[in-house]
């Protein structure tokens, strides 16, 4: 039923705030097919509502009539907002990255603090891509400029390098009243959008980028959810289907559940280093056409949680596929600087698209996402991000602009940080040397940890780990003894959840089970970040190794 969702009930006066509102006038009485009650105050906004109403069960009709008659001083019974009255689609929303394992980890930390004895001294959270929490240092230049932007009195302090001051002045000039506490345009501060566009041009070898196509966001997730929200339409067989990789990052499945979109799974090929096979995309889209309208294809490159980096050839194939099938491409590229494996390189979807020539570059619709939270910055707490939209229909783009204005502006400190990321110190500037040193050290350490993770995990019988080519996670496959699988099933939990929970209780290591990301039936995995310091990571990996051996013995 696609009636306008905002309906005004106006008895007098006119509909303020909303010109497009539907105003309801009394038309006729309605009789409930279920209980036969006639309610004189019931009015029909349009003809189909009587159908809807008579389709209700008698109990539900009874419920609203009872509610209507409760006008006297009847004391309240129970709550207004309960699981029964709550928006049902909310119940389907899950978020594994901070699911039950993490909640238990928080509890264990508390117990440790209270002096409860455990076989370990601390909880190691390798569940979430939060680099600073794991001890990574922020980039000095970024933080100096942010300090100057928040407290501009320091602009005369000679301990700050000159380039940090210039940068801070430039950002402040773009802010209302020269304050980063001022409201910005919903799409983001204009000069920052220009800097983002120039960054994209540099990254993509000169392919032009239009600042009007850039939307700053509250981290990448805000952008991703906004685009999904915009694209989900239709009912039944015409309902929008969105293709997501399995394993996937649970932000996608959670957003699709909330929006009531159809999730279309395509499986990455674990045997081929989590690569993306076009034949699998075809299979998935064809199967989905039977029951929904596939309109969107989401790609995470470098992959989360799988760590693969797509080849140029693969990206071309995906673009051709999207063009042929008429799919809107969403490219989650937040790990674009996190590429470690030899022979691997990050190619942006935009660059490949434009290099494929006008046949594609003028037709394929693309939104690509970036953020300040990952790469060498790891600044999750600032919630900075942007998206670039390509080839979007102008009318749809106007709707997008409207949609972002509902959530007001992205946090301005996050916008400022995004600006510094896309416009870092240049050769010859005082901060350049330190910046390069810090960035290189962070990326090098990540590369070493990626290698170490793969190597140690692959020494464990029953664990096999693909190379961590990029991003921040390993996603090894674990074989679990049949008895463990049975016991987990008896307990009503996924076998890898059972495994991870036991690992947490025995070692204090917090990982996310593969079932939270999706995996082929009968296979089990976990996601582990490569973010702890090298020493800590080594200890952690060896503990996982010991645990896995113990677990396998115990259940075989």
């Amino acid at each position: 039923m696609l009636l306008r969702r905002i309906i005004w009930v106006v008895a007098r006066g006119r509909s303020p705030l909303c010109d497009s509102a539907t105003v309801i006038y009394p038309t006729r009485q309605l009789k409930c097919a279920g209980c036969g009650m006639v309610n004189p105050s019931l009015q029909s906004p349009h003809s189909s509502s009587s159908r809807t109403f008579s389709g209700l069960s008698t109990t539900r009709c009874g419920l609203i009539y009872r509610k209507m008659s409760e006008n006297g001083a009847v004391p309240r019974r129970g709550k207004v907002l309960t699981l029964d009255t709550m928006n049902a689609s909310v119940k389907k929303v899950e978020y594994a990255v901070r699911g039950p394992i993490v909640q238990r980890a928080v509890q264990i930390e508390k117990e440790l603090k209270e002096g409860v004895k455990k076989p370990f001294d601390e909880v190691i959270k390798a569940n979430i891509g939060d680099a600073h929490a794991m001890g990574q240092r922020p980039i000095t230049f970024f933080r100096q400029v942010l300090a100057l932007c928040t407290y501009p009195e320091l602009l005369d302090d000679n301990t700050f390098p000159e380039d940090t001051k210039n940068r801070a002045r430039r950002i402040l000039q773009a802010c209302g009243g020269n304050s980063i506490g001022a409201y910005s345009a919903s799409q983001g501060i204009e000069c920052i959008r220009q800097d983002v566009a120039r960054y994209i041009e540099r990254r993509d070898g000169g392919i032009p980028s239009d600042p009007d196509n850039i939307y700053l966001s509250t981290g990448a997730s805000d952008g991703i959810v906004t685009i999904l929200k915009l694209l989900v339409a239709g009912e039944g067989r015409t309902r929008t289907g969105v293709m997501i990789s399995i394993p996937q990052y649970p932000l996608y499945s959670a957003a699709l559940a909330e929006l009531g979109a159809v999730q279309i799974n395509y499986y990455l090929n674990e045997e081929k280093c989590w690569s993306l096979d076009i034949s699998e995309l075809k299979r998935a889209v064809e199967a989905a056409r039977q029951h929904c309208n596939p309109r969107v294809l989401c790609i995470i490159n470098p992959g989360n949680p799988t760590g693969q980096v797509q080849s140029r050839q693969c990206i071309e194939d995906v673009i051709r596929f999207a063009a042929k099938e008429g799919l809107f491409l969403m490219a989650d590229e937040v790990y674009q600087d996190n590429v470690y494996a030899e022979g691997c390189q990050f190619h942006s979807f935009k660059k490949v698209l434009f290099e494929m020539g006008p046949e594609y570059s003028s037709t394929v619709e693309l939104a690509s996402f970036h953020s300040t939270s990952k790469c060498y910055m790891g600044e999750c707490g600032f919630r900075g991000g942007y998206m670039e939209v390509i080839n979007m229909d102008p009318d749809v783009k106007a709707q997008l602009t409207k949609l972002v204005s509902v959530r007001l502006c992205p946090p301005v400190p996050g916008q400022a940080l995004m600006d510094l990321v896309v416009n870092p110190p240049q050769p010859g500037e005082p901060s350049y040397a330190t910046f390069i040193k810090e960035r290189t050290a962070t990326l090098r350490a990540l590369a070493e940890k990626a290698k170490m993770t793969e190597e140690i995990l692959n020494t464990v019988p029953g664990i096999s780990c693909n190379p961590v080519q990029g991003a921040m996670y390993s996603f090894p496959r674990i074989s679990l003894p049949e008895r463990a699988v049975q016991e987990a099933k008896a307990k009503g939990v996924a076998p890898d959840m059972f495994y991870c929970m036991k690992l947490l209780e025995e070692t204090g290591i917090c990982l996310v089970p593969g079932s939270g990301f999706g995996q082929k039936d009968g296979t089990f995995h976990f996601r582990m970040t490569i973010l702890p310091s090298a020493d800590k990571l080594k200890v952690l990996l060896n503990k996982v190794k010991e645990f896995h051996q113990r677990f396998t013995q115990q259940y075989s």
């Binding site: 306008r4 969702r5 905002i6 009930v9 106006v10 008895a11 007098r12 006066g13 303020p16 705030l17 509102a21 105050s41 009015q43 509502s49 539900r60 609203i64 509610k67 209507m68 709550k79 207004v80 907002l81 699981l83 928006n87 909310v90 929303v93 899950e94 978020y95 901070r98 939060d130 600073h132 929490a133 100096q144 300090a147 928040t150 407290y151 320091l154 209302g176 304050s179 506490g181 409201y183 910005s184 981290g219 694209l231 339409a233 239709g234 008429g326 809107f328 910055m377 707490g381 919630r383 080839n391 009318d395 749809v396 709707q399 509902v406 007001l408 502006c409 946090p411 400190p413 996050g414």
Partner: protein, 477 residues
């Protein structure tokens, strides 16, 4: 080319605020002025939003010092930052994962900040207890409101969730409600009584709504936006009784609680009144109260820091609310730092106290003086009337427009007050919001503008408004 055109009908149905249209026109005028194009005014003054920093009101130093030290911890050893600000920054950094404000805050927000907010609420409410675990820090209060709308809105046809919304209010809320597909049930504040919230009107609105939708929540804004109303304790009690009796979830927007104008007005929180009413109200009425660092004397809009405190929420629903607070992140750390200072400002005896209290007092004095000037000047202008502004950051002024204006506007296909605002912008360089954007009784017309500006700018605004108005009225009489 076959670009995708079919998009979410809910998104399409969101009405683009006229405020945005005016603001983009204002941006063009600014550019023209910069290019040297001659106008009847030297400078454009934009009073359309409540963003006080953009109009030159300075941020609170203590707040910015703490933030700067958190961003760049080398400042913890700098004498450019007062000792108490450094101390505060240190404790906030200790509470951050990995000692960096670049890490994700935990679900619900930083533990230290939730405790500060909880203590603040307890103090504010004369000792009524507040539980830190029931406080959630978010990316501005609007995000918290949106999460609650997500939880509340469901059903189809006559079972669709309805929310009672005051008229006048502001367009962002109605857009958020439309975005969730909720039914807006307007209740009209009584302008003649200083925008009072009257119980008969709530009753009427509710009765009219039942049958079309399932009214589940009552949204109140206190102090009012844009009405400037500050509810009395008695009025709040009545609303709570009404919500209890009619089984409505109370969504209470209290973001203007710091801006109360004059000694004779007092802000009392809904939560306090609820608890002081005792059982069964205090143990049953479900309430979500919202606050933010964007308004008040802080005006840190760009930081996006807000919180919601939940009272009597069903624990099972709380679990699902948590999923959203998880997924949508628990706000930005900078916003949370600002909240910490809002909740726990420097105290008498602290090194930063004198400057802090002077800064806050100066903003309050500015606001009070502006409120008085607006009231006395505009009530003397023929064709304008303005109710007392007891709280908040807006004046909402009624325009008594001649019939010819209304007819001409109708011909042009715009609302009469929108036409007035367009002309005010083009001819006098003042950007204000028409009443049709906020909602108003049929046949009444208003303008809304922010009173958070320096006194001399407010004087300039009033002069321009007065002279434009008399010119406009002459033209149409």
């Amino acid at each position: 080319m076959s670009f995708l055109r079919e998009i979410s009908p809910m998104v399409r149905s969101i009405h683009l605020p006229g405020q945005e249209v005016l603001m983009s026109r204002a941006a063009r005028i600014r550019t023209e002025l910069r290019q040297g194009i001659k106008k009847d005014f030297m400078e454009l003054i934009d009073l359309s939003s409540s963003d006080i920093h953009s109009r030159g009101i300075k941020p609170i130093s203590f707040l910015r010092q703490v933030m700067a030290a958190c961003c760049y911890p080398s400042l913890l050893h700098s004498d450019r930052i007062p000792a108490d600000a450094r101390e505060r920054a240190r404790s906030l950094l200790t509470d951050s994962n990995g000692g960096s404000i670049g890490s994700y805050p935990p679900t619900g927000g930083m533990a230290k900040v939730r405790r500060s907010v909880s203590d603040f609420i307890t103090r504010r409410d004369g000792g009524v207890p507040s539980i830190p675990e029931h406080i959630f820090l978010t990316t501005g209060s609007q995000q918290a409101l949106t999460i609650f709308l997500k939880l509340l809105v469901s059903g189809e046809g006559p079972l669709r969730t309805g929310v009672l919304v005051p008229v006048p209010s502001y367009s962002t809320f109605s857009m958020a409600l439309a975005n969730q597909g909720g039914v807006m049930v307007p209740y009209y504040l009584c302008e003649e009584q200083g925008w009072a919230l009257e119980m008969e009107e709530l009753q009427r609105a509710l009765q009219a709504a039942r049958g079309h939708c399932n009214p589940m929540a009552l949204y109140v804004i206190n102090p009012g936006n844009p009405s400037g109303l500050v509810q009395s304790r008695k009025s709040i009690e009545e609303v709570i009784r009404f919500a209890a009796q009619e089984r409505l979830f109370l969504l209470v927007d209290e973001v203007y609680q710091e801006t109360i104008h004059g000694e004779d007005t007092e802000f009392v929180s809904y939560k306090r009144v609820l608890f002081e009413m005792g059982s069964p109200y205090s143990s049953t009425v479900e309430l979500a109260s919202f606050h933010s660092v964007s308004k008040g004397t802080f005006g840190e809009y760009g930081m996006r820091g807000g919180y919601v405190e939940l009272v009597n929420l069903d624990p099972k629903v709380m679990e699902h609310a948590l999923t959203f607070f998880n997924r949508d992140g628990s706000g930005t750390v900078m916003g949370q730092i600002a909240l910490d200072i809002l909740a726990d400002p420097p105290q008498l005896g602290d090194p930063s106290y004198p400057l802090y209290s002077q800064e806050v007092q100066s903003i309050k004095n500015t606001l009070l003086s502006n409120v008085r000037r607006v009231h006395s000047v505009l009530n003397g202008v023929p064709g304008m009337s303005c109710q007392p502004i007891r709280g908040g950051l807006y004046a909402f002024v009624q325009l008594h427009l001649p019939q010819r204006v209304i007819e001409q506007a109708k011909e042009a296909g715009v609302e009469p007050d929108m036409m007035y605002c367009q002309r005010l912008l083009n001819e006098a360089g003042l950007c204000v919001v028409p009443g049709c954007e906020c909602g108003q009784r049929e046949g009444s017309y208003h303008i809304r503008f922010c009173i958070g500006v320096q006194e001399e700018i407010m004087e300039e605004v009033l002069q321009r408004l007065k002279s434009f108005h008399s010119h406009f009225m002459r033209e149409f009489s």
